[in-house]
């Protein structure tokens, strides 16, 4: 220590005692569910199998982790906290100003990069599972960001509007044979109607209560989708949903298909690349509309509502209309995303619209930093991309044996990541806010000044 501050001596005895207590706690926590496994035996009876090695490994990990924390990480954190906080280095601001153009360039070139590196055969998987999947969640995150991030209305049933969009496209396309390009706006309009319909009764509610009621609505819509078998085919879902065409040219191997019209050899990859750019365009549309809306009176009213509802009412802002437009706009983008989803999958069932999806989308918005579009995009890449990458970690089988299946741990780590990111940055990854109106110079609003409303 050269700074002159007295270094806090590492108390080894205390560290050891803490590690012992942690190990004991871990033993208590893991004993019933890790120490024993309930297995169905050949006679179909439930029996117990013990797993002592696994239990003791986990207890040891907990104890040693705690020991490492007290001996190494904690002193380091204290030391860092004592250092005077310097101004952010100038390179950081440079990076920040370049990050948007760079990210935009990357996502536009992404299919090309994948094709060049992974080759024709494996590129479909990377563009579809990875690119399209992440972009759907980016779009949903940006859509929900209007409701939660801008208007401050906590919505835990957002997936209902996604489902409305998906089922609208699937049913209308199958029954009336309408094209994707007509149904895309129609699905958005239908979803926004539902947004207004569900928004009306909950206008008086705020905060957690609003979240729970929207959760209830989301579940009701899902249960209706499951049980209204005549219309939705229940659990079995809808199959054979028409796929989108390239402005009228279908992506198939036949004469008049995309490949033959453009004189290319048929490959499913063209459709995938087309879908990728489609969802990219839709997501960018969402972002663009949000940015523009923030400058319109309605967008300003949303943000004012988020900050203080009572002040809003005193100033004569019609809070009913403000809330309903937020619900309707958010729902509309979910409807777009839903119709894209059903067109991409060709198959939908109520399983795709569970509460877990709503929770995922909301967590993306909150983890990203409510209201921050870049934050939402980063959170979507981290959370969705991270869990998708878990599917690709087959090499871990070398370490843990061939029965080890990394995909099993996807949602486990997803939940853990939600908790850890919240503890690390309770206001999300990007906690500062950009003002939409400025007097002289543009300054970001620091996270200490960001207030949450009651909405």
């Amino acid at each position: 220590m050269t700074s002159g501050a007295p270094a806090k001596r590492v108390d080894t005895a205390r560290a050891l005692r803490d590690a012992g207590l942690t190990a004991l706690l871990a033993f208590g926590l893991f004993l019933p569910l890790v120490g024993f496994e309930t297995v169905t035996d050949v006679r179909n009876d439930l029996i117990l199998v013990t797993r002592w090695p696994l239990l003791f490994a986990m207890v040891a990990i907990a104890g040693l982790g705690r020991l490492a924390y007290s001996l190494a990480i904690e002193p380091w954190l204290q030391q860092r906290a004592m250092r005077p906080s310097a101004e952010p280095a100038p390179w950081r601001r440079h990076v920040a100003s370049w990050i948007i153009p760079f990210a935009l360039g990357f996502v536009i070139l992404y299919p090309g990069i994948v094709l060049a590196t992974a080759g024709f055969g494996r590129a479909v998987k990377w563009i579809d599972n990875f690119g399209i999947q992440v972009l759907i969640y980016v779009m949903l995150g940006w859509g929900l960001n209007i409701v939660v991030g801008l208007a401050g209305l906590l919505d835990l049933g957002y997936v209902a509007f996604y489902a409305v969009g998906a089922y609208s496209y699937a049913l209308l396309a199958k029954t009336f044979g309408l094209s994707f390009w007509i149904l895309l706006p129609l699905a958005g309009i239908l979803a926004s109607f539902w947004g207004i319909l569900l928004g009306f009764p909950v206008l008086r509610l705020r905060g957690d209560y609003l979240a729970i009621v929207t959760l209830a609505f989301g579940e009701i819509i899902r249960i209706v989708l499951i049980n209204w078998v005549d219309l939705t085919n229940g659990y079995a879902g809808i199959t054979g949903i028409p796929r989108p065409t390239f402005f009228g040219i279908p992506f198939n191997a036949e004469e008049g298909g995309f490949a033959s019209v453009f004189g290319l050899e048929f490959s499913p990859i063209y459709r995938t690349i087309f879908l990728y750019y489609l969802i990219l365009a839709l997501a960018l549309l969402t972002a663009f509309v949000t940015v523009r809306l923030r400058r319109l009176p309605v967008g300003r009213a949303w943000e004012a509502l988020r900050e203080d509802e009572i002040a809003c009412r005193s100033l004569g802002i019609n809070t009913t209309n403000t809330k309903l437009t937020a619900f309707a706009m958010g729902a509309m983008f979910a409807g777009f995303a839903g119709s894209f989803f059903s067109a991409r999958q060709g198959f939908i069932s109520p399983d795709s619209f569970t509460f877990l999806e709503s929770a995922t989308i909301l967590s993306i918005v909150v983890l990203g930093g409510m209201g921050s579009q870049i934050g939402v995009a980063i959170a979507a890449v981290v959370m969705i991309g991270g869990t998708e990458i878990m599917r690709e970690l087959d090499f871990l089988k070398l370490f843990f044996g061939s029965t080890f299946d990394p995909t099993q741990y996807r949602m486990l780590l997803f939940g853990l990541a939600m908790v850890l990111i919240m503890i690390w940055r309770p206001r999300g990854l990007i906690a500062t806010r950009d003002p939409s109106v400025v007097l002289k110079e543009r300054k970001a609003i620091g996270k200490d000044l960001v207030k949450e409303g009651h909405g």
Binding site: L48, L205, G415, M422, I423
Partner: protein
């Protein structure tokens, strides 16, 4: 009428289980103003702990007396579930206390996802079923050749719930801990100033909530005899509905709300449609919050500038 009486008995049984879970929601909400989203999954974890303990006692240790086994299962499940919930509060909620309003909610949702997937990974995704623990029933009366029965397990659930509620009532109204809890509920800062250890009180609230959820879990296992890792969400939301219906923050409200939700659900299944029984519960939740946000026994929320 006979169907009505039978459903009344079934509904009160189901409602007792919901009521026990609902107390956990209402207590935690009352004291730190947070919807503990993971509580339904804590309940599910307690069912698994009870299952493991029951199998351990009967098959490995060879305890043949069901009454003794059930009693031990109850105690063990309460202990271990309390430990789980204590740790959850310590790790996932305490660092976020006094922070951004949405942070604990997201943390709790993350915890809920973590818990259900932890059980899925460690215990496998399939339904776990055991042969019925308790058999036997009493025929109360017979009408139109339809016997209205009260089974032994229903009777046990009623008795255990009643006894536990009396103990809990005593704990909250008469002990030092209960006083501290009520003080923290009214004003944490003031409570801290007069010497109440707020952190410890909140920890104990989570422990009590978990212990009651474990009672519900043991009863659930005895009543249905089957559980899977995904069984936390729906009972959790229904118990939350019960807490809201009774007036969130109100302890007698949670129990009465639980019994009402149990009755609504069984009556709906009997007279309307069993497919839509969850819709009934969710609609009750929405309707209550929209028209009666303070619930049956809650204090109205005053809006202040």
């Amino acid at each position: 009428m006979e169907v009505f009486f039978q459903q009344l008995i079934n509904g009160i049984t189901l409602g007792s289980i919901y009521g026990l879970i609902a107390i956990g929601y209402t207590m935690v909400f009352g004291i730190i103003g947070m919807v503990n989203f993971a509580h339904g999954d804590v309940f599910m974890v307690s069912v698994f702990i009870a299952l493991v303990t029951f199998l351990l006692l009967t098959s490995l240790l060879g305890i043949s007396s069901i009454a003794l086994a059930l009693f031990l299962v109850l105690i063990v499940a309460m202990l271990f579930t309390s430990l789980v919930n204590w740790t959850i509060e310590r790790l996932a909620y305490r660092p976020l206390r006094g922070s951004f309003r949405l942070a604990p909610l997201i943390s709790a949702i993350g915890m809920s996802i973590f818990l259900s997937n932890f059980v899925q990974v460690t215990q496998g995704p399939r339904n776990k079923s055991i042969p019925p623990m308790v058999q036997g029933e009493f025929v109360l009366f017979t009408q139109n050749d339809y016997p209205v029965t009260l089974s032994l397990k229903q009777l046990i659930i009623w008795l255990v719930t009643a006894i536990l509620l009396v103990c809990f009532w005593y704990l909250v109204t008469k002990t030092r801990l209960g006083r501290a809890q009520r003080a923290c509920e009214q004003d944490q800062k003031m409570a801290a100033l007069v010497g109440v250890d707020v952190d410890r009180t909140i920890s104990m609230t989570f422990v009590i909530a978990a212990a009651l959820a474990a009672v519900a879990g043991t009863m659930y296992l005895m009543y249905y005899g089957v559980v899977s890792f995904a069984d936390g969400f729906v009972p959790g939301v229904k118990a939350f509905t019960a807490a809201v219906l009774g007036g969130i923050g109100s302890l007698p409200g949670a129990v009465i709300g639980g019994i009402l939700i149990g009755l609504i659900e069984t009556m709906w299944s009997a007279y309307f449609s069993i497919d839509y029984k969850d819709v009934a519960a969710f609609s009750v939740l929405a309707i209550t919050l929209i028209f009666l946000p303070q619930g049956l026994f809650g204090r109205p929320d005053v809006e202040k500038v």
